[in-house]
């Protein structure tokens, strides 16, 4: 019997000693949700994760494809040898895309990713037992971000599903579309709460959302909703928060002036090895065998030459407009597309073509000194004070307060080195504000939505398409047709496949 007892005791000892810990092996390489979301610091990290989504959602490839290249501001450099991936981008410019286009899909997904991260913060925060002085700003920022993402979604995609709480089980993830009205109700409620909970900006700013950011967002929403009085009220409060126009237009975009007094909200980047750098400029320069003469950093880019300013865009600048030189540059070089060897960047102002040299215009706004390829220091502006002034001018003009509108418009023009506007009538002033808005906010992903917001999209883009078809033989006949039916981007094919409620 002793053997039996010994064995049994041994087995029992092994079993009880082991089971509790032996089988419990959570990952050591990452935090799990069940042990997180406790302290204010935890929520701040979760909120930081939501901020991070502003990069793919509002500054990613799809942002400038959909915000600029789909408008009359920019087009692309056609590289016939490079098919496949580039075609998807070309389709967006040409209005030949479909619901499987990776780029329209990407923006949709990114906006919702930001919404989901904001929802987690908003859902879990009340139960964490934190003090109001901690929860207030966190709530404000989370609601600002959620409103920002939903506003982007509703403008680009129209009626979409409305996710307002954290998904904890798969069943909760299947939602049908909500009406545009309902989505705006949420956006407005979020933005209003953010305005009330967020602090006024303190300069220098950090990049976090402020009362100014939320008020600007809400005013923009009101403008889209054509609630000009509502917008005016909010924009007047923004004007009281200490924002100014920087004296020099070009310096607004300089990494040296990140989050300046002109900045109301911008997406943050930082060059270096921490994975926080931006790379906009590498998409915008011409495809080149070497990048050194353009960016100062050695390397080559084969898939580039996107978001190229159109001739009509370049022509839209008045003589003497400092914004032209700050926004658009020329790359000089030799060789054909796909095998282009640049020699350097020159100013577009007063440029005289040279024999044997090709000069390619490109968006220069985001080209600043940096040390590694595809790792730049540039932030991306979402809202800045000039935008606020122009929106305020527009809201006043729409309410027939043309006099004050002119004053505001001229503040912007003066900074650009231009004479005050000569327009006085409401109709003329409307066009003048729109034209300066196009140039002031050029390549900041505003143009396409402005055209849609002001009802000009079909007219302007149909004409734009006709121009391009005359210039480029590669553009297909079906391009730029039926634009009126294509103003909203499609809900991604994948989502419709998975979620029958969307059909």
């Amino acid at each position: 019997m002793t053997i039996k007892h010994t064995l049994l005791l041994g087995l029992a000892a092994l079993t009880t000693a082991c089971t509790s810990d032996f089988l419990n092996l959570p990952p050591q390489g990452s935090v799990t949700a069940s042990t997180f979301y406790q302290s204010g610091a935890d929520f701040d990290q979760a909120l930081t994760g939501a901020y991070q989504v502003t990069r793919p959602a509002l500054t990613g490839i799809s942002s400038w494809l959909m915000g600029e290249m789909r408008s009359d501001n920019t087009h692309y450099e056609y590289n016939g040898a490079l098919r496949g991936t580039p075609e998807l981008k070309e389709q967006l410019a040409d209005f030949t895309d479909n619901d499987q286009n990776q780029h329209t899909n990407d923006k949709y997904y990114a906006d919702y990713l930001g919404i989901a991260r904001a929802n987690i913060v908003l859902n879990r925060l009340p139960g964490a037992g934190l003090k109001a002085d901690v929860t207030g700003p966190i709530t404000g920022e989370a609601r600002f971000l959620r409103a920002l993402f939903y506003f982007d979604l509703v403008q680009y995609y129209g009626s979409v599903p409305l996710y307002l709480s954290e998904i904890s089980a798969p069943g909760e993830s299947y939602l049908g579309k909500s009406s545009v009205e309902d989505i705006y109700k949420i956006i407005i409620a979020d933005a209003q709460d953010a305005v009330s909970k967020l602090p006024v900006p303190k300069f220098p700013q950090t990049g976090r959302a402020t009362k100014g950011s939320a008020a600007m967002l809400l005013a923009h929403v009101y403008m889209v909703r054509k609630d000009y009085a509502g917008a005016e009220t909010l924009l007047r409060t923004v004007a009281q928060m200490g924002y100014t126009l920087l004296p020099d237009y070009a310096s607004v975009f300089s990494p040296a002036n990140k989050n300046s007094t002109e900045s109301i909200f911008e997406v943050q980047f930082q060059q270096g090895n921490q994975g926080q750098g931006s790379d906009f400029t590498y998409w915008f320069i011409p495809a080149s065998t070497t990048t050194k003469p353009i960016t100062g950093v050695d390397g080559n880019v084969s898939e580039a030459g996107w978001n190229v300013p159109t001739a009509e865009m370049i022509a839209a600048y008045e003589k003497g407009d400092k914004r032209l030189d700050a926004s658009i540059g020329l790359v000089e070089g030799t060789g054909v597309i796909g095998n282009f060897t640049p020699t350097g960047v020159v100013s577009i102002v007063g440029y005289t073509p040279k024999t044997g040299i090709v000069a390619k215009p490109f968006v220069k706004k985001y080209l600043h000194a940096h040390s590694q390829i595809r790792n730049t220091d540039d932030n991306w502006p979402i809202y800045r004070y000039a935008d606020a002034l122009l929106l305020l001018a527009e809201s006043l003009n729409e309410q027939s307060k043309t006099g004050e509108a002119v004053t505001l418009l001229n503040q912007v023009r003066t900074r650009a080195g231009l004479a005050p506007t000569t327009q006085t009538s409401q109709v003329q002033l409307r066009d003048a504000i729109a034209r300066d808005r196009r140039l002031e906010l050029a390549f900041e992903n505003k143009r396409y939505l402005d055209l849609v917001r002001t009802g000009k999209a079909v007219e302007v883009l149909t004409a734009h398409g006709a121009t391009l078809k005359g210039l480029y033989s590669n553009i297909q006949a079906r391009a730029y047709t039926d634009i009126g039916t294509k103003l909203l981007a499609p809900i991604p094919y994948r989502e419709k496949q998975i979620n029958s409620l969307l059909n």
Binding site: K4, L8, G10, L11, C18, T19, S20, F22, L23, N24, L25, P26, P27, S30, V31, A33, F36, D44, A46, T48, G49, Y51, Q52, G80, A81, L82, R83, G84, T85, E87, L88, N98, Q100, Q102, Y108, Y109, Y112, I115, A116, R117, I120, P161, Y163, I167, P170, S173, T206, G207, R208, N259, Q274, G275, Q276, N300, S302, G338, Y493, E495, I498, S500
Partner: protein
Amino acid sequence: MKKSLLTALVKITVVQIFMAVLFASLSFAADVNAQELLDRRVNVNLTQTPLKDALTQLSRVAQVKFVFNSKVIRLEQKVSIAAQNERLEDVLLRLLTPLSIRFQATGRQIVFSRLEPTRPVSNSTMLEPAVPPAEQVITGRVRDEKGGGLPGANVTIKGSTRGTTTDADGNYRLTLPDGPATLVFSSVGYIRQEIPITTQSVVNVSLVVDNRSLEEIVVVGYGTQAKRDITGSIVTLDTKGLADQPVGQFAQQLQGRIAGVQVDQTAGSPGNPLSFRIRGAASINAGNAPLFVVDGFPIVGDITNINPDEIETFSVLKDASASALYGSRAANGVILITTKHAKPGQTTVQFNANYGVQQVPQRGRPGLMNAQEFVQFQKEYYDDKVKYENYKGTIPQYGDPARYQTTNWYDVMFRAAPVMNYSLSINTAKDKFSSAIVAGYFKQQGVVEGTSYERYSLRANNEFQVSKNVRVGLNIAPAYQVVNNSIDNIAGSFFFADGYLGAFNNLSSALTAAPIVSPYNADGSLKVVLAQDVAGIPFQFKTPNWVRVARDRQNRRGSLRLLSGAFAEVSFLNGFTFKTTASVDLENSSTKRFVPAEAGGNIFEAPPMSSPYSEYNSNTYYSWLTENTLSYQKTLGNHRINALAGYTAQKYTQEFGNLTGFGFPDDKVRWLDAATTKNGGSNTNEWSLLSVLGRVNYDYMGKYLVQASLRQDGSSRFGANKRYGVFPSVSVGWLASDEAFFKSQSVVNYLKVRASYGMVGNNNIGNYTQYSNLNTTNYVFGGSVAQGRSPSTSLGNPNLTWETSKQLNIGTDFSLLNDRLAVTYDYYSKQTNGLLYQIDVPLASGYANVQSNVGQFSFWGHEVAVSSRNTTGALKWNTNFNISFNRNRVDKLGTNDTPITAGYNRTQVGSPIGQLYGYDFLGVYMTQEEFDRSPKEASSEVGTVKHRDVNGDGKIDANDQTLIGNPNPTFIFGLTNNLTYKNFDLSVILSGAVGGKILNGELQLTENLDGVFNLQRYIKDRWRSPENPGNGTIPRTKDGTTPLARLNNSHQVFNNNYATVKNITLGYTLPGKSQYFSRARAYISIQQALVLSSYNGNNPEASINGLNGLAQGVDIAAYPIPRTYSVGLNLNF
């Protein structure tokens, strides 16, 4: 502490099994010799008890086994006996002598035989009437293979129930009835013999040992079993005769050998692991690789670094009854590998050497354009561009096509390469110590430069018999191997317009290079960039020189593996064995990659790169296992029981780190120390498994067999709510050929019928899948990096658990014509439930998917294995053939049966798993009229590709993709022939598959009509105008219309019926012995000798995703399998 289910179960099962097997045995004495047996003291007191019960009781109290023929000894007769502490012999004498039964102790058993009545029976009233008067008395002696008397052999009269058993000296005496008769002599382990009786009165017989013996011992999970006792589906394979293949991995030796086991070599690069699939196993996310168990240790790492020469046998456990003891890891089948151990009394030294040369066969090389055809195509391309697209750009001026020399880019990538294998084995087993040592060296250069495989291995298996009841052992097997593979695309993969990931390696890229470009400069050096040296070519890629890429990119993985185990085994009481084992599987590997600036880039990006790039990854894992098993054997009369209970714990820990570096000043220093920019990371992975297991085998009379087993696994991988899984199985078998009625015929000499049912699991669900992990998502505030954390794209699931596979198996084994022909047939039906399924959820939820146990696959199939001895004379010819029909069906996917599309394959409910998916190619819109009346895609024009409007909505779009081929073969088969004649031996091994489809993904590049790649030769027959419309299968080149033609479509799908002669070996054994060696044999061997295939690629087994059921059957320029010619030598000393 919370009392776990496992704790409770341990207590219940272990205690009960303990009690059950212990109670009767506590007073038993230890094992003894024959005389001791008879000297045992027994207590017995029986009155009017059937003889059977009396013997049973005596057998139990004396702990002896009685052997007798129940037909001869009447068990129902009543007897009385009383004894108090008397010798067993005395008691038996008193009991049996009156019954005319004599007995003799042999070994551990006592054999009874009937004494013909030579004297009056004292208690005759208790006997049946005496047998009828003898007409004829036959006497004789039955001898064994050594000429000694064979006790206990049965001698029966065919067609009657009469008979006797031989006595301890093998003598028998039998009275025959009137008329002709046939005597049948049989004994377990010997071939049955029948002798017709005419006038003889003395018949002496020598029984021949049954070599294909049903007593063959087979390695099964947690032990061994006699083959005839097996009730599950287990196939064993001895490595004798496998060793002559000039290959580096044992998996290559298993191709085509085992019914139901598909082993495919999906790429020929040296050291590339083969893909296994047992009984069509498939899962969505949990893999289909079987569990490999080496000497009882379920290993976690690579199997490629096991030297095939170390292996003695394979046992493949195919059904649940065979594999359920491996519980949550057994769903894909289990392959038990037993390494070589020295045989008792053996002392041998063996040296094997093999040297071969590998070459890529001509068959299967792609038929691409030569320089003239290419130039002609380019000219026509621009002619059409001008004609149809109003093209005004640059037109390349190629001039006379004849002035170009062709570079066949496929050919230039290859070379002839050597392969060699040496191994030395030393076996000794003397006295109490046995040792088997195998040292091996294998080296294979790849047929592509920059690829090779090298392995140094050693194994020492040692055992020591400490005392009569205690045995200990220690195995240790270190192996170091190095794999170089420069063709893996380090620069990454590309997304094509269609969204499919193209894992295009350098071989694939090389196929696209223009044939007018040479890899060499005029001075013979390798070019850095491939560019067409023609003025003003606008749209051509500049690419790396693929020859240089293969040669100069370094991708080297070195790994040191140690497999080791120690055990101690104690036999005690009588029939108990306790075994405790500790094993470790440990590997330390590092991968170094270096891409020189001149060998960087990819198909879209030409070198030189701004800087070389380098990576250094290290990976260490160790897995330890402890097992404690208690087994018990007991025979009670006709009842035999074997029981096993065990407790095991295993833990795996992996630590890995990776470093990458850029900014090297040059190629001179190729380590990260020279990099100016370095990034790195490290992490760990762990899992643990805690299990109890039990098995009971019972048989009655050796012919009615039952087995039941159970394992409970607790796993760290399972969600907190589903931590423990129970995996039971039961099986039954019937040895019909042991029944008396069966012996009346002589055609079928062995027949067993068996059936099993059980549940096994698949725990390959990822280590942390149950958790909602938060990833780092940093951002910048105020100019400094702010730590951010966000959920991963997968939603956590605390209910996550193993996949369960319910498996039914019905089979039979039979032998015909004196074992000349042996057949095994199995039918199986499996249902996998709770498939780990990544349910895609709307990305709008913030998540991409949730891991869930939702999904069901059904599998069923038939397997037949036939082995025959065709001739047995001077020419011995044996054939083994196996064929397997595996079928499967998707029953349920996720919550709403959303099909899974993985690259080129789709898995959808109601269809077999992993169908090829794409457009149904109909040809080309040949005329305007045809175009006008046909459904179209947005980019369609006359002369462009025409796909079928599957959904009938009048237009072609993504919704018209459909199933375009089933990559699952209708059947797979293998055929092995072995012939020996005098000193010559020949073996031919063939394996194949019929009825599957394969998709040639490379055609997406080599049929690309945009004029940027080299093309298949037949592209010349494309549509160019209504007057010159080509052959109706190749569309036009017009810009913007071409992508649709190259998306996955049925035009790229081919029938994949093939038979591959895997190996032919011809050997010659030198006659006699010399003073230097005892046996010497030389042979020549051809590996991958011949591929007969309906698919025109090099390797019909090619598959970029291996035998993954969900994504099989796609060939994208797979590394070809070379043909190897080799010579070898086996020397025994």
